[in-house]
């Protein structure tokens, strides 16, 4: 057992914040991603183009650059614009909000693609049958299409979650005291960087391992009522 010199709790505090930030961002990404996917499928042309531009931009720019653009760039843009108009304004974004906001915006773009692909994978007969039974489009989506979409979407969404968890480490750059940041603090004050960064790695691996188990259970739940092909 390595000696954490009393910094063990700091790591665990960081772990809690990491998991919290990841869950909050994932929920945001799911909601925004589903909305964007529906937009990409059904919105009028202008809306489709707008969403396409958004997903293209987000997937081509590194997460770190987007995070810095939002955390440092947006306030300076507002301040400089205000200064030109003759106002003296001082503005800063809370790292917690900037972190969750950035991750939500980024991973919603990926979730959007997953949802869209899942929707397109549905056999059209399902929708036609629902309409024939007299269900309106909203009920059809909620009761018939969404549950079946989840079956196709879960592997992709699980992938998004795994990547998102690792991406939370970037928020340490804007000094949010999550796992990476706290490991850094402990490493600096104890001069044992390897010990603490390795411990942080093991904690990330623990999240990954638990997530994999959870994903398998969720997929089994989403596939309830279906029979697996026997090989």
């Amino acid at each position: 057992m390595p000696d954490f010199q009393g910094y063990g709790w700091l790591l665990l505090d960081g772990l809690v914040l990491t998991v919290g930030v990841a869950i909050a961002s994932m929920l945001g990404a799911l909601a925004l991603g589903l909305l964007a996917a529906l937009g990409k499928l059904f919105a009028p042309r202008a809306g489709k183009i707008l969403i396409e531009v958004y997903t293209t931009f987000v997937r081509g720019v590194p997460e770190l650059v987007l995070l810095l653009l939002i955390y440092y760039g947006l306030p300076t843009l507002v301040q400089n614009t205000a200064a030109k108009a003759g106002y003296d304004l001082s503005l800063s974004i809370n790292p917690f909000v900037a972190g969750i906001g950035t991750l939500t915006v980024i991973y919603a773009a990926f979730a959007c693609e997953v949802f869209r692909a899942a929707y397109l994978a549905l056999p059209p007969g399902q929708r036609e049958a629902a309409y024939a039974l007299g269900l309106n489009p909203v009920i059809t989506f909620r009761k018939v299409e969404l549950p079946q979409m989840m079956r196709y979407a879960l592997p992709g969404l699980g992938n998004v979650w795994m990547v998102l968890v690792k991406a939370t480490a970037l928020i340490s750059i804007i000094q949010l005291p999550e796992l990476m940041r706290n490991a850094d603090i402990a490493a600096r004050s104890t001069r044992q960087p390897f010990t603490f960064f390795f411990a942080a790695c093991l904690l990330y691996l623990a999240i990954t391992a638990i997530s994999m188990l959870g994903q398998a259970r969720l997929e089994r739940w989403a596939a309830r009522g279906t029979t697996e092909a026997k090989s």
Partner: protein
Amino acid sequence: MDFILANLPRFLEGAWMTIQLALFSCSFGLLMALPIALARLSRKRVLRSAATAYVFFFRGTPLLAQIFLIYYGSGQFRQELSALGLWTFFRDPWFCALLSLTLNTAAYTSEILRGAIQAIPKGEIEAAKALGLNRYLLLRLVILPRAIRIGWPAYTNEVVYQIQATSLVSIITIMDITGVARTVGARDFTFFEAFGLAALLYLVLVYGFIFVAGRIEKRLGAHLIRTAAVNKPKLAGNIR
């Protein structure tokens, strides 16, 4: 506009650094990925577990943690590394950046390769064996060419992520696109313009690469009749 004109040369230098890091790490990573993928498919249990552990570690932890582990973590073993004559390497941020990027992409690439090898129809391998090819020839003439064709779209995605992942090295003082943007932005308090220009450069690199990779993909499959799967959306679904 003034901002772009005044700073473009520095940003282009940064872009060159980004390209170098992506190119070198992807090349070395690809070289490492083949033995790792073969080890994961090996019948020998020791090889298989070692490769699985490697892939699990590098895919399950953030790249930033890996960079810190190698760059700062090596300091804890300074005496041992000095004795081995390796300290000059680990003291150099560029070496540490390249090493962590390479180890990281090797893990992801080996998974793509493994999946591609497993996707080869069994009959082709059996046919090759029936023709009397030995294991080396089987790998070189049948398995690898097929695996490359099957794995190419996924590998294209991996390179795209690698181009973006190089931005993390700016944190250990490397002057890549992001590093230049951070310096320029902090100097003139022009963060928005600096990171905006950086984002634009990454977009050019990423979509430029996707265009070239698409041409190569067409070439790889030129002799195959392709009806379906022509308009596959790029960069969708499986992200790392």
